[in-house]
């Protein structure tokens, strides 16, 4: 539970967001004060029948005045845009060494999986001072991964991966909330993020029940679901080989080019007719409905792991 009257700043981002927030708050308070003062002072001074001077209006009250405050407002707002936008741009890309956690959302729970294969429900343990990157997908409707103390929020979509990253800077337990309305128990779709010291995290991981990591599980599924029947090196079916595929630019039969990223690989499994690789027949059946989102993530992780082995697999 967060405190009642303030919100902890538990990531590197939180501090930056709060700077902007408090800057805007000060500016708003000043503006509001100015407008209220003006309204009250003018209303009292120029109440009907008061002795305040009226007569011909002074020269200053004219068009230049109007243009003046319009330009001041405009420049002020442009400055605010620049300030906020540059903070946003700085935090876009996750560092390369980030810990990669997979998140699957469904009505009304969060499932998380660590690189080691350890899984959690409605909870996520992470080490302090190490960037964490979340790859998220939903099995049903749109959810939103919201950790107020981290100042991060990202919608979690069905049929697509979205990601965010953060760098925890403070140990403790912080609420995780679903912020996008997702049906009956939307408000119960809560969890907790536990930020631990690094050695505690390592220890915690060893105590988790054994689980295959995603790529290993993907390798198992690759055989179990019959993918290997066509896509394995030894197969005689004319199908694209997957080693070294991830991250490469793929030529499609209709002349387009796409980058083989997570989205492309997911689409190729679930809607194979959409992007046909050049030189191949559209013979692959769709796996939509046969693979759940967790399995799609595992298979994607497996295909990604093959990219590292390009050299020996291509011979």
């Amino acid at each position: 539970m967060n405190p009642i009257f303030w919100l902890p700043e538990a990531t590197s981002l939180a501090e930056r967001v709060d700077h902007i927030f408090y800057g805007l708050l000060a500016l708003s308070a000043l503006t509001l004060l100015l407008v209220f003062m003006l309204v009250v002072v003018l209303a009292v001074r120029y109440r009907r029948g008061s002795a305040a001077r009226r007569g011909p209006l002074p020269e200053i009250v004219n068009r230049e005045f109007e243009i003046g405050w319009t330009s001041i407002t405009l420049f002020l707002f442009l400055f605010l845009f620049w300030w906020a936008a540059s903070a946003d741009l700085r935090s876009l890309a996750a560092p390369a060494d980030a810990l990669e956690i997979h998140v699957v959302a469904k009505q009304w729970m969060w499932k998380t999986q660590h690189p080691s294969g350890a899984r959690e429900i409605d909870a996520l343990h992470v080490p302090i001072d190490k960037p964490v990157r979340l790859l998220m997908t939903s099995q049903d409707v749109i959810h939103s991964f919201f950790v107020p103390a981290f100042r991060v929020k990202q919608d979690v979509l069905p049929g697509r991966d979205t990601e965010i990253w953060f760098l925890p800077t403070r140990t403790g337990v912080f609420p995780l909330l679903c912020a996008e309305y997702c049906g009956t128990d939307h408000s119960m779709m809560r969890g907790r993020i536990v930020v631990m010291r690094q050695q505690d995290y390592a220890e915690w991981l060893t105590q988790q029940p054994e689980g295959d990591d995603l790529a290993h599980e993907g390798a198992r599924l690759f055989v179990a679901r019959g993918c290997s029947g066509c896509h394995a090196q030894s197969s005689s079916v004319h199908a694209p080989k997957l080693a070294g595929l991830y991250g490469r630019t793929v030529q499609l039969s209709d002349g387009r080019q796409v980058k083989a990223d997570d989205g492309y690989i997911r689409d190729s499994m679930l809607q194979p007719k959409r992007d046909i690789a050049a030189g191949f027949e559209p013979i692959m059946p769709s796996y939509a409905g046969l693979l759940d989102d967790g399995e799609v993530q595992s298979l994607t992780a497996y295909i990604r792991s093959l990219a590292a082995q390009t050299g020996k697999a291509d011979d």
């Binding site: 003018l42 209303a43 209006l57 407002t73 845009f81 749109i142 929020k153 909330l177 408000s187």
Partner: protein, 557 residues
Amino acid sequence: MTDALLTGDLPLPAHPDYLRDGTSLTSWLTTTDHKRIAILYAITITIFFFMGGAAITAVRLELFMPNGGLLTSDAYNKLFSFHGIIMVWFFLVPSIPNTFGNFLLPLMIGAPDVAFPRLNLFSWYLTIAAGAFTVYALLAGGVDTGWTFYTPYSTMFSNSHVFAAAAGVFVVGFASIATGVNFIATTHMLRAPGMSWFRLPLFVWATYATSLIMVLATPVLAISLLLVMAERWLGLPIFDPAQGGDPILFQHLFWFYSHPAVYIMILPAMGVVSEIIPCFARRRIFGYDFMVYALIAIAGIGFFVWGHHMFVSGQSPYANLIFSFLSFVIAVPSAIKVFNWTASLYRGQISFEAPMLYALGFVGLFTTGGLSGLFLASIPVDVHVTDTYFVVAHFHYIMVGGAVSGFFAGLHFWWPKVTGRMYPESWARFAAILMYSGFNMTFLPQFVAGYLGMPRRYHTYPPEFQIYNVMSSSGAAVLALAYLLPLGYFAWSLFYAERAGNNPWGASGLEWTTTSPPPPKNFDRQPRVDRGPYDYHPEGESAGLNPPEVQNAREVR
């Protein structure tokens, strides 16, 4: 001796005003008089307003406790959805345009009626039909998608009456479009001789700008809801990602309408306030032409900021930047308007009847709401506070603090013209102050709760937010009282209050030159216009104590 005799005209034969020109129910239900249609709308939206209000009363009661206890989660979700759908499409969107717009637009431009009187009546019947769909959805068991109908929840996962509710909103959209077309045509074609564009009162400009948005944006709402209905009932996979659809497409379509819709709600209120402040300050509005350009700029730029509702939806970060930029830009014309209203008080002769109190309250609340909009235009801050109570507070400041205050301001200001009776001033002032206080008590704590991380649409919530919810719910009780009060004293005034003269406020503007209530065709003689609006004092002078010289028609019918 009447004015007419004084000026040397022959007296016209006496005839009943529009309220007494036919008293049967049929004469009301088949009327094409824009003033009577305005009354029909006023009654309709009042009923809807209290329906939406009843729904949110239950919600606010439930939120006293972190774990509720009065309602099930499903009931809670249906109540806030009903509140949103009713308040947005059946109260706020038609509120000022269809009541005051209908009543005043022809009067203000010196016309006998709107351009298409029968279309006007048809639009009211569409509203009734649409309301029937939506209320049916409630009675049949409710709809639980929120007013936003987000896919794929609304298309594939909700077991509630999405189809009926969406159909209701789809139909009421056509009422909006019909009204918009009617007002645009009226403003173009039916202005009195001498009423050039830059002599139009700002309320007319605001109504005109609103009509443009209605006509251009509402079809997109119709398209998006039609697609939801098509997917729900025909199974067309438009938003289903498993079949190649895109749920985010719906959000783009929806907000392409719904962001401009915010301006459909607030521009008319700005128009109302721009009439009232000059009248009670006895001043020309400061920077009339800038006010006009600001209205048009808001209406125009309003079409290009919809993406700021979607900063965390997974849309491109570069798109986010563009939408953030444009959202800051659109704040400029709003700021201009606030400065100009304030500057219009300078060297005025200000009096503080209820309409003025509401109008000044509007300026304060709109400014607060607008400033909180800057937080939401800043991407990193928006990421944190979007979908929390911060956003709830923000849009209620604009749409309730702004639009509803504007509505009540107009209601008091034009009540004498509409009904021919004054309202009880002390009660009205009391209600205005109560409404302002109750509003801030309700929604100010929500900014704090939102920043601390309380998500919106939460039936149960973490206990640390209870204090803010208790404050908010208590404020809502005050606010509810403030909304019920006018219902009482307005009803009382219809029968017992003193009769109003033609121009009780000493206001400029053509609507005050005819009788209160006006005759069926508004003016006995064709008005001719020979001056700009807000002619309360000579150019370059300060306010005087005398009401403006009435401009009226000496011309023969």
